[in-house]
């Protein structure tokens, strides 16, 4: 309950479950939520959401006031357990933070090298956006031509590294992207982090060759 008896609610559908380097972003912001909404990533890609609340905030929710039919499917929320196990394992979120920091540094270098394409690198943790000086859709297309998948958000923002999360769970796909030949991870092969290693560096490898192409496209367009 914040001032004047208002409840404070955080929508962490995007920011929760490790994306910002904390399990939830409110922990980073220093906020004290009364109730709050969780992220779909809790299912690791399986359709699953969660709403969290304090007992005080939830005092109106008595038997019969809420329910869900499909959420009763047993395996629907089964991924939540291994997903949270991995995320809360010692060192996982530290690694996310390190990766995010490194990623941001490298993206900043990229921005400096390509001031005509990238205006700003912003965001928290691995929730990073590139504010582009070209239409975001064109930059996304150019990146895809380099076998890198990103998402446009709004007119001029390209969201990047959601997947850098993966590096621990799936044996460091991002580490491998740094290697010559861009080997994908071998199935079931877990690779420990190499110190500050190349995690999250993938995009940087790709960008320099992309940006000139992107510019050419823009000129043509």
């Amino acid at each position: 309950v914040i001032g004047m008896g208002l409840l404070l609610m955080f929508d962490e559908v995007q920011t929760g479950i490790g994306r910002t380097g904390e399990l939830f972003a409110y922990q980073r912001a220093g906020g004290r939520a009364r109730h709050h909404v969780d992220r779909q990533a809790i299912g690791g890609g399986f359709p699953l959401g969660a709403c969290l609340a304090t007992a005080e905030a939830a005092k109106g929710m008595t038997a019969g006031t809420h329910g869900s039919t499909s959420a009763a499917i047993r395996w629907r929320w089964r991924p939540a357990t291994p997903c949270s196990t991995s995320l809360l394992a010692p060192g996982f979120l530290d690694r996310v933070r390190r990766t995010a920091l490194l990623f941001k540094q490298r993206l900043a270098e990229l921005k400096d090298r390509h001031p005509a394409v990238i205006a700003e690198v912003r965001g928290e943790g691995l929730l990073i956006g590139l504010r582009a000086l070209v239409p975001a859709g064109e930059l996304v297309d150019a990146l895809r031509a380099e076998n890198l998948l990103t998402v446009a958000a709004g007119e001029n923002v390209v969201r990047t590294p959601a997947a850098a999360h993966h590096r621990r769970g799936r044996g460091g796909g991002c580490d491998r992207a740094d290697r010559p030949g861009r080997d994908p991870p071998r199935r079931g092969h877990r690779r420990e982090a190499e110190g500050q290693g190349g995690g999250g560096m993938t995009g940087v490898r790709h960008f320099p060759s992309i940006s000139p192409r992107s510019r050419r496209r823009n000129c043509a367009g």
């Binding site: 969780d38 959401g49 969290l52 609340a53 905030a57 949270s84 998948l149 590294p161 994908p184």
Partner: protein, 203 residues
């Protein structure tokens, strides 16, 4: 019509048949590094062996049992979330939009329980996105959604009636509960021309 998909996606001509970690393999044989992470939900990457194992193991046992009955593994997930956060309670549902809907409901129920049912308006911030259900679109408030995101009105079945001028009116019937869309609480006539649809359950 070349495709029967509702044309709401600006699609790319690229399809994937396999994923591993941060990588996707397209049907054209090319490998792509996936920074989209599904729609930013694949926290552990594609085809994570522990997620696959959890889903397969459960699918072989039992799929769907009413929420009236408890399940130990779900309790485990809830306890873990509460230990790692501020929360006392967790409710699992299918999507982020549904989680937000429940958040809105909890908020309104809270004030209702406090004897302040008039406190139903929720302050949200510009530039945010809260989901694609109608309540969460209203919370998002982006101009492109305004035509679908205004509040609804509840009508009591059979209350449409004919007025003098021949224009059809409906008389709204707000049930006095806290999560009503428009809790003005009073009856009012609504021109049929302003009512896009009537939603009725057949039973």
């Amino acid at each position: 019509v070349t495709s029967h998909l509702l044309p709401t996606y600006a699609r790319v001509d690229l399809a994937f048949e396999r994923g591993e970690g941060a990588w996707l393999t397209a049907t054209n044989g090319e490998r792509y590094l996936d920074f989209t992470g599904g729609v930013a939900v694949n926290a552990l990457g594609h085809a994570h062996p522990r997620l696959i194992e959890a889903i397969v193991a459960q699918a072989q046992k039992v799929w769907h049992v009413s929420n009236l009955f408890p399940h130990s593994r779900r309790r485990e997930a809830r306890e873990r979330l509460c230990e790692a956060s501020f929360a006392d309670f967790v409710f699992f549902n299918n999507s982020g939009a549904e989680a937000n809907e429940l958040g809105i409901k909890i908020t309104r129920k809270y004030h209702w329980a406090n004897g302040q049912p008039e406190r139903f308006r929720i302050i949200t911030f510009e530039g945010a996105f809260h989901g694609r259900s109608l309540a969460t679109l209203a919370a998002t408030g982006a101009p492109k959604y305004l035509e679908v995101s205004s509040g609804g009105r509840r009508l009591r079945p059979g209350r449409a009636r004919r007025h003098r001028g021949g224009e059809t009116h409906h008389r709204t019937q707000h049930r006095r509960d806290p999560d009503r869309a428009d809790p003005g609480g009073r009856r009012r006539a609504v021109s049929a021309a302003r009512v896009p649809a009537r939603v009725a359950r057949p039973v």
